[in-house]
């Protein structure tokens, strides 16, 4: 009997380890076994797991992200073309604002660190302090590092992840450099998990590439709504809150194709916007639904030929 219990314990711990390596939730059996612990321990664990997730307040997105933005680990956010960098920067900044606000609620005034490859910020523009401030970021606690090479940027990011004071670390990289391959992204991810920090890898004008991030989101621009007037009607022809079109490319949950949101800088939170209204505004986004069936547990869509990455060369 005792032997069986030991075996069972071993199997459970192995499954837990595997689940951790795969960034998965704990399998049901393991969870049940854990829940059998004395009450004090269980509550603490549950709280710990809840602490690691930041809900974004948009149900479809939170469903895909399994509750919200992971606060310990790497999330990749990319945009397809340089000209879309504004939208992606807006989404990344919004996430940073949320992280910062969460820390503030806990009584910490935490800075946000933005590490940018020099080329990336020259191509798509430097972060602009008044703009960031009106976007909701605590500009007094915003640190910016511009670094010439990708390798140095990775070094800075890795160093920063061991500093527990940051609310979020943003690493902005342009394209798909060879020195940020699967193993490097795995290393950053592990560092971020160990340091309990959210690392937002902002890949500007990059291809879809295998990485160790929890999730990969592609951000496309979306037409903004109109400004509301005091009497409740909308001001025709005006540009309201910034809106985003989020494509979930990598996730464990069943990936729904398109999510439309808008960022309300005044309330400092996301609001979902009606998809039909958004697709009415620009005719093209109606066609952007992926024709292939969405895949579960791996990246969305098949890679085109010559884009296979992270495999050793046969010859």
């Amino acid at each position: 009997m005792a032997e069986k219990a030991v075996q069972r314990e071993t199997v459970l711990s192995l499954r837990e380890t595997i689940a951790q390596i795969e960034n998965r939730r704990l399998p049901g059996v393991v969870r049940a076994a854990k829940a059998a612990d004395p009450a004090g321990f269980r509550r603490q664990r549950e709280e710990a797991s809840r602490n690691k997730i930041l809900p974004l307040g948009v149900p479809p997105l939170d469903d895909v992200l399994e509750g919200g933005l992971p606060l310990a680990g790497m999330t990749e956010i990319r945009n397809a073309e340089t000209r879309d960098a504004g939208a992606a920067a807006g989404f990344v900044t919004a996430l940073a604002v949320l992280c910062q606000r969460r820390k503030k609620e806990k009584g910490h005034l935490a800075p946000v660190l933005w590490i940018s490859q020099g080329l990336a910020s020259r191509e798509a523009g430097f972060p602009y302090a008044p703009g960031l401030k009106s976007y909701g970021l605590d500009i007094e606690r915003f640190l910016f590092v511009s670094i010439r090479t990708v390798k140095d940027a990775l070094w800075v990011a890795e160093t920063a992840l061991s500093v527990p004071v940051f609310a979020a670390v943003i690493l902005e990289i342009r394209g798909n450099p060879a020195c940020l391959a699967l193993s490097e992204s795995r290393r950053l991810h592990v560092r971020a998990r160990a340091g309990c920090l959210p690392l937002l890898l902002f890949r500007q004008a990059g291809e879809e590439e295998a990485s160790s991030a929890f999730f990969r989101l592609q951000i496309k621009p979306a037409s903004a709504g109109e400004r509301p007037l005091p009497d409740g009607s909308m001001l025709c022809g005006s540009i309201g809150h910034p809106a985003f079109h989020v494509l979930v490319e990598k996730s464990r949950a069943y990936a729904s194709a398109d999510i439309f949101l808008e960022w309300n800088a005044h309330d400092r939170r996301f609001y979902p916007i009606d998809q039909s209204v958004a697709s009415q505004a620009d005719g093209q986004s109606a066609n952007s639904v992926d024709p292939f069936s969405a895949s579960v547990g791996r990246s969305n869509g098949a890679d085109s030929l010559g884009n296979l990455l992270a495999y050793a060369r046969a010859s």
Binding site: G86, A94, G125, G131, Y135, F144, V165, I239
Partner: protein, 501 residues
Amino acid sequence: MARIRWGTSWLTQGRPDHPPVVFAAKIDNAMRLVALDTFAERLGLKRGQGAADARAMCPSLDVIIDDPAADRAFLEGLADWCDRYTPLVALDGKDGLFLDITGCAHLFGGEKALVDDVLSRLFLLGIEARAVISSSAGLSWAVARYGSAAVIAPEDAERVLAPLPVAALRLPVETVALLERVGLKEIGDLLQAPRAPLARRFGSLLLLRLDQARGHADEPLSPRLPVPSFSAERRLAEPLQDEEHILELARHLSGDVRLSLERHGEGGRLFELLLIRVDGRVFRIQAHAAVPLNDADRIAALFRERLQAVHNDLDAGYGFEIIRLSVLRSERLDPAQEDFSGVPDESQPLAAFADKLCARFGPDCLTFATLAESHLPERAGGFAPLTDVATVIGSRPVDEKACPENRPLRIFTHPELVEATAEVPDGAPRSFNWRKTQYRIARAEGPERIAAEWWIDGEGHPTRDYFRVEDQEGRRFWLFREGLYGRETSSPRWFMHGVFA
């Protein structure tokens, strides 16, 4: 110079077969000798002689054009090297160094031993030098050039000084000539003469120099480098080459420095690691700290990054024999007591991070956002190097600066020229070409008119009309038209200044 001419053979016994070497420079519109080696001196050549005359006396003469900058650099290098004896090293003219060895001599086994050590080491480096220790700078200067003694006790000063020529008093050439004409050839003659007539006839400088040589008047030396407030040093019997070992030693030294820092209740902001190579080359590596530091590990960590950054410039050669760690700038460090809540001080890890970054990429690397009160967008916001970590962490009162709404998230440092077409000359654009792509504008807000700041740029700068536009796919841009149509310009240009979220 000998080393360059003869390679390593300068160390051999006796002089290689080579004509006498002299240096010449253009003085008073003629090439004159300014320096000559002992061999040339023996031939009867003199300083100040014309180069052509000297060639006539010795046809095989090797004349080299004088290079004051190289001389200066050499003297500076030598002064660096002399840092091993005392931190107070002053340059003296073109060919001398003053070392203030107050309180240092006993470290080398007495004054005589110190002089011998200096001279023998310099000889091994291929430098012929003369050194004198005395109680005043003037006396040392005189004896080193005109006398022959190594250490002069204070009570012997006048006895040693008396037989020296008056030129040993560091006087202008004219005064020396004047003194010699009236028969006052030796300093002893001056010492006996009454002071008042001397001052009347030759000026007060003569008496000042005389007093300085005798040690009656104080002569301040101006050291090349500020004296570090704290320093620790290690002399090695076996030279060190390995970076790891240097770091390890730096850590030991930081432990020593830490003790004295703690005693004074201070922490260092600027550290310097001085490495003296076996062949006399001196390396100085400086490292900044974001907050006052007195922790040995943190100080050593500063240099770990710094050494990696300067890795290529640091040529260990045959190894380093002296390593010194000094604190160049220190600030008050209030000892912090850990409180019972167990919450660690949050600024410490951030400060360590800032230090690492600055040590590796320079002090301008880590920046924080600044807001300025300016109408022009490019002046209103910027980034400045982070100097005080506490401002980022602490809850200081936020000075609310009025910040205009509707500013882009990203801005181009140099606005990019676009070709835009508008329906009416003053109106919003309908479409524009940016980076070889055409964008059709669906909605536009504006204009927001921003005039140039005449009190900075001067008058005549065109006014800008900013438009916030959204293209058909939902990208939002910030465009401006430079110049008011019809009033300031007839063909206004359009620029892309930033992108919105």
